[in-house]
Amino acid sequence: MSNESIASVTHEPGSFEHTYQPKTAFTRWLDARLPVIRFAAHFMAMPTPRNIKYVWAFGAILAYFLVVQLYSGIILAMHYAPNSAIAFDSIEKLMRDTSYGWLMRYTHVVGASLFFFAVYIHMFRGMYYGSYKSPREVLWMIGVAIFLCMMATAFMGYSLVWGQMSFWAVTVITNLFSSFDSIYPGLGTAIVQWIWGGFSVDNPTLNRLFSLHYMVPFVLVALVALHVWALHVVGSNNPTGIEVRDVKKETLPFHPYFTTKDMFAIAAIAILFAYIVFWMPNYLGDVVNYEPANPLKTPPHIVPEWYFLPFYAILRAIPSKLGGVIAMFGAIVVLFFIPWLDTSRVRSCRYRPIFKWLFWVFVFDALALGYIGSQPAEGSWVFWGQVFTVYYFVHFLVLMPLVGLIETPSPMPESIEDDVKRKAKSTQPQAVPAE
């Protein structure tokens, strides 16, 4: 395909002109009634900046994991018994006696972990390239809502195993609401008992967790649809952070260029996925959860799954129960506001000499919080947990607004096209004249 014919199928982001022509009597008939094919053709031709890198494939990778989780989850639900007396055994029965039950379960368990792995990279990508900035604020905020839904789903899914860690994680997290007793006496206790459906974590709790674990992913699907819609309105950002000026020269239609690229990225991630599923399926989980829930025996170390650890560290850093809860939720809520907390005119960290470093310091901060979340809340870990928690908020609430004002951006290319041309020149072998 020549560049000419590629350009002929591209459009302005958000515009609804298209080149789809129904060719058969049936497609003409359908097109006049429900133009789904027209919609799909338009959808797949979305003009996408040609200079985006493989980190942009994580959106597609997330979509892949969403499908994997839904598929494997629906199979698991066919064999799972949401009853506290037999839940644990029903899962083991699936692992042992159902054909490829072990494959479905390990896929779902490892898939959840890799889903979070992918979403964290996806979010850090957005932070590095300023993808949350105008006009992508709504796109970003829907993303944060997706992240919240993912966390809720993962937490409830983990509880369904009804192992020791499931049970005690539910106990600890639901008990957090009792901190509301310090706002209005009795309020927290009432909420906690309402959540439990009784006076302790028991069968009614498990039943509602199962019901919600099945429901929230469909909310997630709806949110992802909105997320992708918003993406199609504003178009993808790109490593320069400069908006597309010339659709013909600077973008390519999503299909076939980025479908192929994303498919390769998905296959590459699937190799990692398979490696963990087939050789280390229990590596990412806690061994204690292979003991059935025992309300009379508290495990010596209650720790959440790895993807919650940074938030768990923030929760424990504050020496007041209510304060910890507020800080933990605040750590996620603050993400909703970063489109306005960031005062820089420049999107991409590529041209932000100071904030680029602060980005990496923030990544380190998040990893450090994760590690501290896995450690006992004693000795120097308490101190370091507080230091890194404070820095987490300083990054968003102080550094982001401040640095945007004082930083002088480094020289930028004129446009995406300019950047692509420069890069092409610097990588072309000199001996062969470009023609």
């Binding site: 200079n51 292979y290 424990r316």
Partner: protein
């Protein structure tokens, strides 16, 4: 610092969280606990092409049956599993005979009395004790846990500094270290050493250098020459411990070998697919500056 600690503890229903090293180091420093670094052993079911050795599983089953089953059960296992591919590979007759040794609750007869029948291959393993209460009464309150998942429900504690963590993780991932539970179990069975001078343990408990806290209700279950193998394999304590660990490793995951075998083909398939997709992408993008 103490107030922070107390608040935190109150905070989340007795969150006495700790991952091993720091806590263990602290306790060791306080002179409470012997800290024994459990070595990593080689198991036939580790690694890319891992599988269970049939002869070893048979020996391990013998150890389990003659020793461990006096106190523990394998409630998630059925007798028929003993004859399934990848396991100890007993013949249908042998499985029937093993199952028939137990009595299973069948229901109630016409007079309303409890009716029992001989076990069948489809039955789950039956525990020697009527229930946990009876077991607890026999061991001063401690209940011998069901061993069906024991090799997956235990890990080992390793000591490293925080900055070594990425390295430890990379090494685990590269070498597929999934046999921590087996290493723990083997070390536990070998862990009944003499009580160190100056240490005291509670009445009725036994000293073990591996068990967290160093004292447990289980008396040393295995010793040199305890189980007659009859196949020429030396019945040392180490060998018996390894064999029973292998058997329990299989019991925890009877489909393990099948899983690893399938994995090889899945990876081959995905590698070819990824290669073809990369090629398509390269061809498609050949003349495009990006």
């Amino acid at each position: 610092m103490t107030t922070i600690k107390t608040t935190l503890m109150g905070l989340a229903a007795g969150l006495l969280l700790s991952i091993a090293p720091a806590a263990a180091a602290e306790q060791a420093a306080a002179g409470h606990e012997e800290h024994y670094q459990i070595p990593r052993l080689k198991w036939t079911w580790g690694g890319i092409f891992g599988y269970f050795d049939q002869q070893q599983l048979r020996r391990g089953f013998k150890v389990y049956k003659e020793v461990c089953s006096n106190c523990h059960n394998l409630g998630l296992l059925s007798y028929r599993n003993l004859g399934e591919p990848g396991g100890p590979g007993f013949s249908p007759e042998e499985v029937k005979a093993i199952a028939a040794e137990v009595q299973v609750f069948e229901g109630f007869d016409e007079q309303g009395n409890i009716a029992m029948r001989a076990g069948r291959p489809a039955d789950n393993f039956v525990w020697k004790f009527k229930n946990a209460k009876e077991a607890a009464a026999a061991f001063g309150g401690a209940v011998p846990p069901d061993l069906s998942l024991i090799t997956r429900a235990r890990g080992i504690e390793r000591e490293f500094h925080w900055y070594e963590y990425p390295l430890v993780m990379a090494k685990d991932l590269a070498t597929q270290y999934q046999e921590q539970g087996a290493d723990y179990l083997h070390a536990l069975l070998l862990g009944y050493v003499d009580l160190p001078a100056g240490r005291k343990i509670a009445d009725g408990l036994n000293y073990n250098r591996v068990f967290p806290g160093n004292q447990l209700a289980m008396p040393q279950p295995l010793s040199d020459g305890q189980v007659e193998y009859g196949d020429g394999t030396p019945n040392t304590l180490d060998q018996e411990a390894k064999d029973v660990t292998a058997f329990l490793g299989w019991a925890a995951e009877p489909h393990l070998a099948e899983r690893k075998k399938m994995g090889v083909w899945v990876i081959v398939y995905l590698a070819v697919l990824a290669g073809l997709l990369l090629l398509s992408k390269k061809v498609l993008w050949r003349n495009i500056e990006h």
